[in-house]
Symmetry: C2
Subunit: 359 residues, 2 copies
DNA sequence: GACTAAATTGCATGCGTATGCAGACCATCC
DNA sequence: GGATGGTCTGCATACGCATGCAATTTAGTC
């Protein structure tokens, strides 16, 4: 007893790793039977199934999904790539996506590219994990990588961004339509010198919002839309761009920002310059992040229907379908809705009211 | 040719699932060699290694980490359980945790309990994935579950919350010390009627912050600390509690909230009541969420050193150690620091300044 | 050139599970 | 009673890779 021999029993005891084999042995049945007890489809008598479940609970047996994956070629894992967790828009997105994934019995493998790391760089790493599907948020992959995924029958959906030529799914809100709503709204409420402050220049979200806004203004016979480059979608970018813009002569009377966080930076910048919102200038964002509803900002914005978008994104992955039976690339655009708050005001009405009150 | 026979080649071609076996065949070597080419430790000639890597790239071969896990008994996955993604504190936490996990060559399996779901409910599900370690944020597990994890040699660390008797690791900021700093600061700046607004009543974070605050006030001979129950850590709770509190007679001159989000709700509530911050009342939060730095709130608060905490949390998991060689449960408390902004003011100095300016 | 030691490679096996196939068992019917 | 059909279970194998051991090659030495 002094010298310890490493027997199988000892190892099992130490590792406390209960396998189907162990359960089978205590019950005097085959391992197959244990497997079938935990399968939905396999044929097994209710009586036996119950016996197995009971024994499994007693021994603390849980099927090893890793081993299962090897055979079934499905890991029940969905990779979610989040390029950005800091912008308050994305935690909400992540939350909804994860809920959708989990509600379908899948789990989330989360990837956050380190600063300076491209999505293409982490894709190989990600594919090694044999995930059943991939969700990219605010990021795109190369067409070469898209082809690799297609060859592996691993569906990819791009959330909130799309690349026209790319053979992957895309779900996004209808940014063009949203931006048009903003244009309509600002014109209807008597604004005459609107400006657009862009975020990340080449992002489709940015381009669509700008183009939708500018082109709709033109349709409404308002040809001059000031444009200012923010550089990225951050608070700081919105703040800095607003300062630059408002220090120049010929103030706009309305600012439409590429996203809410920028707009909030814009509000703070305007206030610092002693320009009051909305009396002197109206401010509109895009996304409807939780912060936009706070009384201190009360930002008029376009609400992105995140829950619906997340549902659409996960739906399009066809998680229930076996490999090779997936549908072709789909693009879904989901319309947003204008949420009017007090960062904007009607510049027609106040004139009449003002006159009336002064008489 | 009309009838297609399902040969192995055909299947391989269709599935495009390249295995080590495939690479071995094209090179005329054994599968073991391929395996060794992708291992750090195994012995293989540089020449052969190069040949294998080249062939692997050409065929698009990537080792299947799932299959590897079956042998090595390590999945290189860390489960992170996030009970809350909405509070702006947690996206930052998640970001830092994921960075830490990834920088060690591990991946993150993210679990978000659905509303009404307990952490204990999802643990079995989580353990099935054979994760190498578990990080719980703002959540605790039962001692029974802790024992199961211990038996499996799966280290668990509780982030930002701890349960004294539980045999799991814990990393949190030193909430008692932080709250004491707030007490010291408020007294030093001449506040005389401080109040504490609590969040989730039984959370250790809440209890420690309240107790640290109240006990320190007593030490400083300030025996009356008003207390108000928020109920949870939300904006709404902070807002509602503040309204209740400030409508009653005998205003406090300083409010210390259990967390920043509540404090921000408190600021908005005070402003709505026409009570100005900080002139009429000082407001202090806890966490230093990004929002606290915005000019519209500019919240005095205790900064939690999230990066350091995340590093400590992942360090304590001993990811590099093989199973069975893990260290015993550790509790680490990391001190925070007071960040003074303009939601508080010195109630001693202004008197003098006021008199001076009026002379 | 022969021998030893070291480096490299192949062979065989196992990780824990799912599943096709065949056998065992039971009930039903003519 | 034998044949038929159906249900359930066990056997054997495979998933893709890592690794101990044996076989082989290479280098090094006298």
């Amino acid at each position: 007893m002094a010298r310890r021999s490493i027997t199988k029993a000892a190892v099992t005891k130490a590792g406390t790793h209960v396998t189907a084999e162990d359960v089978a042995r205590t019950l005097g049945v085959s391992q197959s039977t244990i497997s079938r007890a935990f399968s939905m489809t396999a044929s097994i008598s209710d009586e036996m199934k119950l016996k197995v479940i009971k024994a499994a609970n007693k021994l603390g047996y849980q099927p090893n999904v890793i081993a299962r994956s090897l055979i079934t070629r499905r890991t029940n894992m969905v990779a979610i790539v989040m390029a950005n967790l800091v912008d308050p828009f994305y935690p909400v997105v992540l939350d909804e996506l994860v809920q959708q994934v989990q509600s379908r019995g899948f789990q989330t493998l989360l990837f956050v590219p380190s600063p300076g790391q491209d999505v293409d760089d982490i894709m190989p790493n990600l594919l090694q994990y044999q995930v059943d599907a991939i969700v990219l948020t605010s990021a795109t992959i190369s067409s070469a990588m898209a082809r690799i995924c297609a060859a592996r029958d691993t569906p990819v959906v791009s959330f909130n961004r799309y690349v026209p030529g790319l053979q992957i799914h895309a779900v996004s809100s209808d940014n063009i339509a949203g931006a048009r709503q903003v244009a309509d709204f600002l014109v209807a409420t008597g604004h005459e010198r609107p400006a657009f402050i862009s975020g990340e220049r080449d992002a489709t979200t940015n381009r669509d919002r700008r183009n939708g806004f500018v082109s709709r203004l033109k349709q409404l016979k308002m040809n001059s839309c000031i444009q200012e480059e923010g550089g990225d979608f951050s608070y700081e970018a919105g703040y800095a761009a607003t300062k630059r813009l408002l220090r120049r002569a010929g103030h706009p009377d309305a600012l439409f920002f590429a996203c809410d966080v920028m707009a909030i930076g814009g509000i703070d910048a305007a206030r610092e310059l002693g320009i009051s919102v909305p009396e002197d200038i109206s401010i509109v964002g895009y996304d409807d992040v939780p912060m936009a509803a706070l009384p201190s900002y009360s930002l008029t914005t376009i609400r992105q229907p995140i829950r619906e978008m997340a549902k659409a994104a996960v739906d399009v992955l066809d998680l229930a379908e076996p490999r090779g039976m997936k549908s072709g690339p789909t693009t879904r655009m989901i319309p947003g809705s204008l949420i009017t708050r007090s960062s904007t005001m009607n510049r027609r009405a106040p004139v009449r009211v003002g006159k009336a009150s002064r008489r």
